[in-house]
């Protein structure tokens, strides 16, 4: 004898629209005649950096790498490193990864197509982009402050636990140089993002460019000369010894920043304003 088993119809797990449509209530008061204040755009852009898993994990990842770097230093040579060295250990990985925050802030509107909503709510696209710019810079400044604090904590721990004499000496210029290093990197990421409006392309270009300079500079001697003026990684390294920077080094930094930060931002802003949002 055979039995036929009829599978029960699985209940739908998805909610449905209500049976009757209700026209939403009016928002009391007049409709606004004033534009969106910049502060609100900034608040939204800051929020967007942390309200997706990708953004959140990127920031957590940067924090984790800083923590690992500091842990290694704490145990290496019994933590006998100057505060300045601790600071460098926290700043370097941050400086490499934070530009991705800037890239994502700009490119997500296009790669994830959220621009369709963002730019209908604020059609003055350059205001949105400046909010992203400032937001990413604020994130960079906050990260910098955090890395200084963490470096100080671990340095103090080395003094207390490892019995290290400690060396807190650091001058303002070095701090300024390191901060500039981090912020310029983010600005570069923003510029690349605005220029390419595509997440993978912008990230790849950002990470490949310094390597390309190094390889090409090794192979072609005249390119090596150009690199000292145009390789942002090389010119920015001088910022870690900012008080001994020569006039030529400043000129080299300025040239490379103009080429890889100012120009992409300017051209990117113009293109972003004209691009079709699809």
């Amino acid at each position: 004898m055979s039995t036929t088993v009829t599978a029960p119809i699985s209940p739908t797990t998805e909610s449905a629209l209500p049976a009757t449509a209700k026209v939403p209530e009016r928002i009391p008061g007049e409709r606004p005649t004033a534009g969106i204040p910049f502060g609100r755009l900034l608040a939204v852009e800051l929020r967007k950096m942390v309200d997706t898993r990708a953004g959140r994990w990127l920031l957590i990842g940067i924090g984790a790498i800083i923590a690992i770097a500091l842990t290694i230093m704490f145990f290496n040579e019994s933590g006998h490193h100057r505060f300045e060295e601790y600071l460098q250990a926290t700043t370097m990985p941050m400086a490499i990864l934070l530009p991705v925050v800037g890239i994502l802030a700009v490119t997500a509107e296009w790669s994830q197509r959220t621009g369709l909503v963002t730019y209908t709510l604020e059609p003055r696209r350059s205001r949105v982009t400046w909010a992203k710019f400032l937001g990413a810079m604020l994130a960079g400044a906050a990260a910098m402050a955090l890395s200084i604090a963490l470096a100080a904590v671990v340095h103090q721990a080395a003094i207390t636990i490892q019995g290290y004499g400690g060396d807190w000496s650091i001058d303002g210029d070095t701090l300024l140089g390191a901060s500039l290093f981090v912020l310029l990197g983010i600005a570069q990421g923003l510029g690349f993002g605005m220029l390419l409006r595509n997440t993978p392309a912008a990230i790849v270009l950002y990470f490949v460019l310094p390597t390309a300079w190094a390889i090409l500079g090794d192979m072609v001697s005249w390119l090596d000369g150009a690199a000292s003026w145009l390789d942002l990684n090389r010119t920015m390294n001088a910022l870690f010894l900012v008080d001994s920077m020569s006039g030529e080094q400043w000129a080299q930094l300025g040239t490379s920043v103009a080429a890889w930060v100012a120009l992409p931002v300017a051209v990117g802003m113009w293109m972003l304003h004209r691009a079709e949002v699809k």
């Binding site: 998805e14 909610s15 449905a16 629209l17 209500p18 049976a19 009757t20 449509a21 209700k22 026209v23 939403p24 209530e25 009016r26 928002i27 409709r31 606004p32 005649t33 004033a34 534009g35 969106i36 609100r40 755009l41 608040a43 939204v44 929020r47 967007k48 309200d51 997706t52 898993r53 990708a54 997500a108 994830q112 197509r113 959220t114 621009g115 369709l116 909503v117 963002t118 730019y119 209908t120 709510l121 604020e122 059609p123 003055r124 004209r274 079709e276 949002v277 699809k278």
Partner: protein, 299 residues
């Protein structure tokens, strides 16, 4: 409330929107009807300031979209429900819009409730949403700022029949309150059932435009008899033009009563006699769709 004047958009040699002009009035639902690829979405993107026009203008509430202050509080736009960050929750999508527009966060909860998303669903990431859920989220987002004008591109896509009915009731209620509604669809019966005004677009051009009654009337009479040929000649004698229908019977350019009188006088037995339905609109639409389909096959 939406004014489109000689709007044209070209992509190289391809003309997506070809010199279209129309007005969308408040208190009415205006249907923007056309086969896929007819230029509806491009025209709507231009209206929302996302795509620059090659020539011509589109204004909303008397201004170019880009000059509206805080446009979300004046115009609700849904162009593509899938265009959302996959990693954001539904509630977060609405919250971001609410902050930008400067509306109370309570409004977010109200809109979530309005489109029937549960709290659990609103807390889920958009990546896990079905097309229908995305569409509902998009509608909630468009209504969030209590706009006067709604611009919705294929809002019924992905909704089940009950959902489509819900949408119809909502838009009707919105228009009755004095709102301006423009919605697009590639389905004739969807538009037929909700729109007061219909704009038909094909190959970037407007091929018909008018009130639903205007477009649906003038369809004449459909008649079937035991001897259609005899009836056709009798009608011809009275200077009434008739053409054979593909399914048998005749389409006649006259009122049913006239046709009945002619048939009675000629002694032709009628099998069916009724006012022609939206044959004109439907056939025009089918021709457009068929032409588009042929092109797609050829391409």
């Amino acid at each position: 409330m939406i004014h489109v004047d000689r709007l044209t958009k070209r992509y190289g040699p391809f003309t997506a929107v070809d010199d279209i002009s129309f007005d969308v009035k408040p208190g009415q639902v205006t249907g923007f009807l056309g086969p896929n690829g007819a230029g509806k979405s491009t025209a709507m993107r231009i209206m929302a300031g996302l795509t620059p026009a090659t020539s011509g203008t589109a204004t909303v509430l008397g201004r170019a979209y880009g000059h509206l202050p805080n446009p979300g509080r004046h115009v609700g736009v849904l162009l593509d429900a899938s265009a959302q960050h996959a990693g954001r929750t539904g509630r977060e999508v609405l919250t971001l819009s609410a902050i930008m527009m400067g509306v109370d966060r309570r409004r977010v909860d109200e809109m979530i409730e309005l489109v029937g998303l549960t709290d659990k669903e609103a807390a889920r990431r958009v990546r896990n949403y079905s097309l229908g859920m995305r569409q509902r989220l998009g509608i909630a987002n468009a209504l969030l700022g209590d706009p006067e004008v709604l611009i919705l591109d294929e809002p019924a896509n992905g909704l089940d029949p009950a959902g489509i009915r819900w949408m119809r009731d909502l838009l009707r209620g919105y228009a009755n309150r004095g709102g301006t509604v423009l919605l697009s669809s590639h389905l004739l019966n969807e538009i037929e059932r909700v729109a007061d005004e219909i704009i038909v677009i094909g190959h970037g051009r407007i091929v018909a435009q008018g009130t639903k009654d205007e477009l649906l009337s003038g369809a004449g009479t459909y008649v079937r008899s035991t001897d259609d040929q005899a009836l056709a000649s009798a009608l011809a004698l009275e200077d009434v033009s008739a053409s054979p229908a593909a399914t048998g019977g005749l389409h006649v350019d006259a009122e049913p009563m006239t046709v009945g009188q002619v048939a009675a006088a000629a002694g032709v037995v009628l099998v069916e006699l009724r006012a022609g339905d939206s044959r004109g609109l439907e056939e025009m639409f089918l021709e457009l769709t068929a032409a588009t389909a042929r092109e797609e096959v050829a391409a």
